[in-house]
Subunit: 268 residues, 2 copies
DNA sequence: TAGTGGTCTAGACCACTGG
DNA sequence: CAGTGGTCTAGACCACTAA
């Protein structure tokens, strides 16, 4: 019966009331919200409406539900987050599509003697592919690359099309191991003379180094790559978008409304 | 009545059936799915169950709903995406917390004469702050920084705590302009001699340059920053996690099940 | 075993869209 | 205006958790 009773669905009002109560500390993080039945009684609404409200809280990351237990308060504030999205990883590798690779060397090297740190047993021998990447039109290479593949998957390096398809996706196809996480480290380096000559730049010139670790969904690092790019032939750009904890419905405005809302009856 | 009738809720089965039909091309992208009423009849289920199924499709980005129109097929496949999450931007700036800034110079410069490309009128004068950033313990600077602030917000550069709080968050506090997007460009550079002396490295030594553009939720670039870091004192690392189009419920496994599922009656 | 959230039904009315 | 999805109800049974 409040003045603010616009056309908003009641479950929005309930979600607001609850999220504000959480914000105020009425329901501290870690505790359980009232049960659905209790909320039905408090607000005088049906269970489905209450559940819809709670679903919004869950989508925002404010609460979580566990069957048989209850609805737990997870955080006090809606966490805003900037996210970078990479569709199909191919964004990292936009250039993969537009470039050609040339493999120069294939060997097995113990982890301890690799050019990049490899996890696990230092004596474990990883399959290593070394090569260059060229743009379609230009002659000069844009990257010198080393790819280390965990021994279990070394077989993929025999693939006919290894020059065209990223190794990690070959592993995915052949072994069903999927990258659940990619760690990436970017640094500026001085290009060592052996690499410099391959890249056709002068020794000690400036380069950008990108190291990527591919972590399977089981947490195992199954591939590590390193690229060195001449500074003026490559730069790394990315875009971060503001998003909400669990981006789904419920935009910001819907949350930040004047206090006096409540659906119909909220005697409590 | 199929053999696969595990304990899965029916709306999962419906969502599978629909997403597979989309995948098969039965419902091409851009067309409308059958109406909820039709689906109720086809599957012999209640409207709420059907709606729950469609909600899953929407969460996956496969479909979208419009009141008064229908449910539109948006894509044929579930788009997988790697995302980098930055809570509160402070992850980019982990070091902001642990470092101190020292402002060396404050001036107004026309866009055309800045060290980084600035959007808009080349004669527009941006407020520029130049300074260094130090780690708490070390004496040597880890970055030389230029911050360009759009003239409308130049006033924030007078703030007392401008050394401690990132400028863009001052703008957010004072003017309510929020960064909805951050573009970031990372490159390796050779450090110019004037900057080198400030950073106490030798001229032409290797550095990592990071340029960030802060774009407001209205699409306006209101701040641009540039940092140059000595190569051995800074590197940029990030983590990308595999996620689904509209990460919510509905994990991958729930989608990739053997074909013969259907709830109970699907005579069609 | 009692109590929680998870699923499901059969109905109802409303708000929006398009002809 | 007819038809769509959006909201809401009152009731039911189930699956899970903890005591």
């Amino acid at each position: 019966m409040s003045l603010f009773e616009a056309k908003r669905p009641r479950y929005h009002a309930v979600a607001d009331a609850l999220s504000q109560a959480i914000q105020r500390g009425t329901y501290p993080v870690g505790t359980l919200l009232p049960t659905e039945a209790e909320l039905c009684a408090q607000f005088g609404l049906s269970r489905q409406t209450i559940r819809e409200a709670i679903r919004l809280l869950v989508d925002l990351g404010l609460a979580s539900r566990r069957q048989g237990v209850g609805t737990r308060v997870e955080r006090r504030d809606v966490s805003q987050t900037y996210v970078q999205r990479l569709e199909q990883v191919s964004d990292i590798w936009q250039y993969v599509e537009e470039t050609t690779r040339k493999v120069l060397k294939v060997t097995d090297v113990p982890a301890a003697r690799s050019r990049v740190p490899l996890p696990g047993d230092p004596d474990r021998r990883w399959r290593m592919l070394e090569g260059l990447r060229f743009t379609a039109d230009e002659r000069r290479p844009i990257a010198w690359t080393q790819v280390y593949v965990a021994p279990e998957y070394a077989a993929v390096t025999d693939a006919k099309n290894r020059d065209r398809v990223p190794i990690f996706s070959l592993i995915e196809q052949r072994f069903g191991v999927k990258a659940g996480r990619i760690r990436q480290d970017i640094a500026a380096v001085s290009i060592a003379s052996d690499v410099a000559s391959l890249l056709r730049v002068s020794p000690k010139s400036v380069g950008l180094s990108v190291v990527r670790e591919y972590v399977s969904t089981q947490g195992e690092v199954f591939e590590v790559t390193m690229s060195v790019h001449p500074a003026n032939r490559y730069h790394y750009s990315m875009q971060l978008d503001l998003a909400y904890a669990n981006e789904s419905a419920f935009t910001a405005e819907r949350l930040t409304l004047p206090a006096g809302l409540r659906g119909s009856s909220s005697k409590k």
